[in-house]
Amino acid sequence: MQWKTTAAAALLAVGSSTAMAAELKLDVEIPALQVAEYHRPYVAIWVETDRGRHQADLAVWYDLELKDNEGTKWLKDLRQWWRRSGRQLEFPVDGLSGATRPVGVHSLTFTDNHVGLTDLKPGDYRLVVEAAREVGGRELVKLPFSWPVTATSEQTQSGEHELGRVTLSLQP
């Protein structure tokens, strides 16, 4: 009896892991800037409803290397993210905190198993990328999307100052 249940459970487990997971892929471009003093930007990436209600954080890139967690001092310059989420968190946050990125395109992929997406109710959302640069500016880019993902899609938006092209690719 016990043996049969275990086998059935194992079969079930195998079944769910081979199922296709929806995928959210984000390409974020940190632009090359001609400035006298360049610092890699702080970046926060999150999901909010189309009404602006914060749902989940996906990534925060900041200066992790400073001792005594000093890099957190400037997280507040990610103004929108800070008030929607950041100021409630304690840093570093596992799976969220990452180092600042250099100039170039950086890709992030999330499946619907990701802790930030697994509880997302069906509806309309926005993926938001906010960047703030030391002795530089600050910019927000928002990409709308619907959940769950029913069709493959791709959209791109470009920042003008602190962010380059931001591309959101969705796969059901």
Partner: protein
């Protein structure tokens, strides 16, 4: 370590293409006012080193080299000096009519070297270089000359304090710095060691960076006569900075990095 050997070290180090990075922060003084009238005129001044203008967020300004000149060129004592965590403060009584000049001047040598695997910084006069330990490795030296000024006028502006000293970068106003209004042509001249500072980039940043998404700095280049012409569209406090780099005449193989900065108040018409 004798000067020649030291200079040779710095030559080697500099030959590797390295140079001391620009200071990451802005140093400034912010006066409570720049245009005053009446008998009993006082101002209070904040001094700080920060990234954003004019915010107190990093270090207070060292006031050891603060020099205040009355319109007649006499030294005036700052009063009620205090240094806090992010800000230094002092008061100035404007007893005379005319333009007072508040100046913070720094000249000397900046050094960076490695000792026992640790990166060390050094600062001192040119004649104090011998203090740097002989075992210092990868020594990089920079001669610095920085001048920071704030101008305050009680009554009618005067210009006795603008007589050039011929050292470092100096402002030679054509338009008096306490006569700045929006939408009016402004002309400033700059000297470097007494000569017209041609082809230098002048940066002006308006206060309130925190309340906008872009820094929106104004960048103008000095012409062959070392002059710039501009117009201010918005009133407010502006931070002005000019920088220059040349070969040091005092330290063989080192660079001499000069800077001039000022806080200017632009009033609405």
């Amino acid at each position: 370590m004798n000067l020649k050997k030291l200079a040779a070290c710095s030559l080697l180090a500099l030959g590797m293409g390295a140079s001391i990075e620009a200071q990451a922060h802005r140093a400034w003084m912010l006066p409570s006012a720049t245009v005053l009238s009446g008998e009993n005129a006082w101002i209070t001044v904040d001094g700080a080193i920060s990234n954003n203008l004019f915010y107190f967020e990093h270090h207070p300004l060292q006031l050891d080299n603060l020099e205040i000149l009355s319109p007649g060129g006499k030294l005036v004592q700052a009063q009620n000096l205090s240094k806090g965590k992010y800000r230094s403060v002092f008061d100035v009584e404007l007893a005379e009519e005319g333009t007072y000049t508040l100046q913070n001047r720094n000249q000397g040598v900046f050094g960076r070297y490695t000792l026992d695997g640790e990166m060390k910084r050094w600062r001192g006069g040119v004649d104090e270089i011998s203090q740097i330990p002989a075992e210092a490795e990868d020594l990089r030296l920079s001669e610095i000359d920085s001048r920071m000024q704030v101008f305050v006028t009680k009554g009618a502006p005067t210009d006795a304090n603008f007589t050039p000293t011929g050292q470092g970068i100096e402002l030679v106003p054509v338009t008096h710095p306490n006569d700045l209004f929006t939408d009016e042509p402004v002309e400033f001249g700059f000297l470097l060691d007494g000569e017209p500072a041609a082809d230098l980039e002048v940066t002006l940043i308006r206060h309130g960076i925190r309340y906008r998404d872009q820094v929106d700095e104004i960048i103008v280049k000095t012409d062959a006569k070392g002059q710039i012409n501009l117009e201010f569209a918005k009133p407010g406090m502006y931070w002005l900075e000019v920088e220059a780099e040349q070969e040091s005449k005092l330290l063989e193989g080192a660079k001499r990095r000069l800077s001039y900065s000022a806080t200017l108040e632009v009033l609405p018409l």
